[in-house]
Symmetry: none
Subunit: 191 residues, 4 copies
DNA sequence: TATGAATGAGACTTCATTCAT
DNA sequence: CATGAATGAAGTCTCATTCAT
């Protein structure tokens, strides 16, 4: 197993254990064990337990943004763009249950430094800002303060995947998914 | 100091310390010290550290619901009712900074048993369900599934107070507060 | 419930809890609870937890000696006397399972002061010494040092009731009971 | 100091402290201190304080059985074999005062799981069963149930070393030692 | 005499991190 | 770079005992 492999193995193990038991209830020893790595090795790759969590947070947020953002938008139909975006985000969450749960549990966790959260927010959710700004210019989205709207969008997204986490079978129901988007869109749309 | 007083002193101390340092970074010894109570006394009132958090959560949620709900509604103007409710909720959060921060930090915390969260949600936020249902009957609110809407409302409220926590002076700005309500209302309203 | 009643209730509760969980694993609070008495009351009757154990030990040893010793001996047939004594002792243990278990667990416990043990031994087992001495004078029992024989008798008795504790149904089998006496008697008898 | 050394140092420290103060009156901290080891190290080798006691019990019982059993028997003279065995057992106890005291105090302790006691009994004292069985086949030992005789032998042995513990100088007196064997042998022998 | 809330020392155990191999 | 035994500070919780009511 190469160096990169072991580092990744640690992150993978940490993800499942953090989600299953929480950050503080997960010992570095248990992470190392599940990663099939010695404790010492774990601390070769991450100077601190906190850094594992931060690295995990950033890597998942980045992966999420990449996967969601990779497809082009049709600038002519903003609502359709927004809907595609929303559905892809929901799909991603449903396709990545551990990561979804990680979002739900740790997006607002005090265990992740505010700075890290802020960086991740702006780096990975920047395209949402673009979408909101563009919509405002086209008169399709309310001319509300961007920062407040961004927080609101984030909150609605978390609420949606939290809901689908608590009611797994409803995640397959197109109606629920459509409704979750409608709530989101109506909140910010002018018409 | 009476029995009730000491119990309450523990809860008060726990509130400020949990908010300031987080649940796991707060030791039971520090809670007892700040409450001016012996460690043994703390465990005389609460069998477990976890139970302190749960009791705190329930007591704050109950207090919140009582304070918000105490005023009568004008059944004839649902939007106005909703707005009054929303503004009172925001006011309450701004008037109770510790409790507000507690909500932001712990509403979704894995440290609070899902069961406790569910009980608090249904017992104390039942009147929101009533408002949504009434609105649906009057055709003012979309006929979406109640459970999904409730989760969405909760998410938007948390986002709002999170925003006002991060930008304290904007909490005094009526425009921001109005916008936060408009986002909420538009999400669920039919017109 | 009178004063005596409460004192006895504490002793009764202590007996069952000490036997079930051991001395250190039994809290004074649990004793008070099972005795339906307040903790404070418990400490009105016994200055210390240790004293409860000591009082219990003495009271059981005394009861045992009284019950065993109450019947007269037929001085003409020492072996028969010894057998009667042994059977009554075994019967007593089988009829008083809690007390039996208490003997097995605490007769040699370091939690009971050596002094208390010694006093109980000599006060309550004095008639065994009489029996041994008498037997020696009649030439029926080996002329071995009394103290060593007494220790040996005690050890055999404990072994016997330990055995019947571990194999409850064998306590009803006359053959096993007879054998346990034969072992005891042959050890000390001359013929 | 190697890994094995530290583990053994913990066991050695535990032995002397348990014997001196009893199990519950001995803190893990004091064991670690006397073993010149960190608390964490203690728990690195033993998951629990209880397991230290159990490990100690097994290791001493095993050592005892090995030391006693190492010499060959003269199958032609069973009583002589038994006597040799008994004397070696008494010698062993007198030569290992801490272990002797440990036997006296903990052989019947409720702090050692019944299962552990049973395992130790059968695994390490199996050769006693052999001796008893062989004696029965030769008609030298009563045809009593083996399990009851084994318990009786154990009880007599404990009584003997208890006696020699309480009266140290009598342990050097051949007469007392001879008597202790005679009691044991007569109990089980046919003639 | 009876009560039970209050006490605080001390017990066991965990765990992030280090470092010699 | 990898290992895992060792560390010891710190945490949660227990419990015999006291004392004001």
């Amino acid at each position: 197993m190469s160096k990169i492999d072991k580092r990744q193995a640690v992150l993978d193990a940490a993800l499942s254990l953090f989600v299953a038991n929480g950050f503080h209830a997960t010992s570095t020893a248990s992470i190392a064990k599940q990663a099939q790595v010695a404790t010492g090795t774990l601390f070769h790759h991450f100077p601190t337990k906190d850094k594992i969590l931060a690295a995990l947070f950033l890597s998942i947020k980045t992966k999420f943004a990449d996967d969601i953002h990779q497809q082009n938008f049709d600038g002519d139909n903003l609502k359709q763009d927004a809907q595609n975006l929303w559905q892809r985000a929901i799909d991603w969450a449903l396709d990545h249950p551990l990561q979804q749960q990680f979002f739900v549990n740790f997006s607002m966790s005090a265990d992740i430094p505010a700075q890290t959260r802020k960086v991740a927010m702006h780096d990975t959710l920047g395209f949402i800002v673009q979408l909101l700004t563009q919509g405002q210019q086209q008169g399709l989205i309310h001319d509300y303060p961007i920062d407040l709207m961004l927080e609101n969008c984030h909150g609605q997204y978390l609420a949606a995947i939290r809901f689908f986490t608590d009611h797994p079978h409803k995640g397959d129901d197109p109606r629920y998914r459509q409704v979750s988007f409608e709530l989101f869109w109506q909140a910010i749309a002018t018409a």
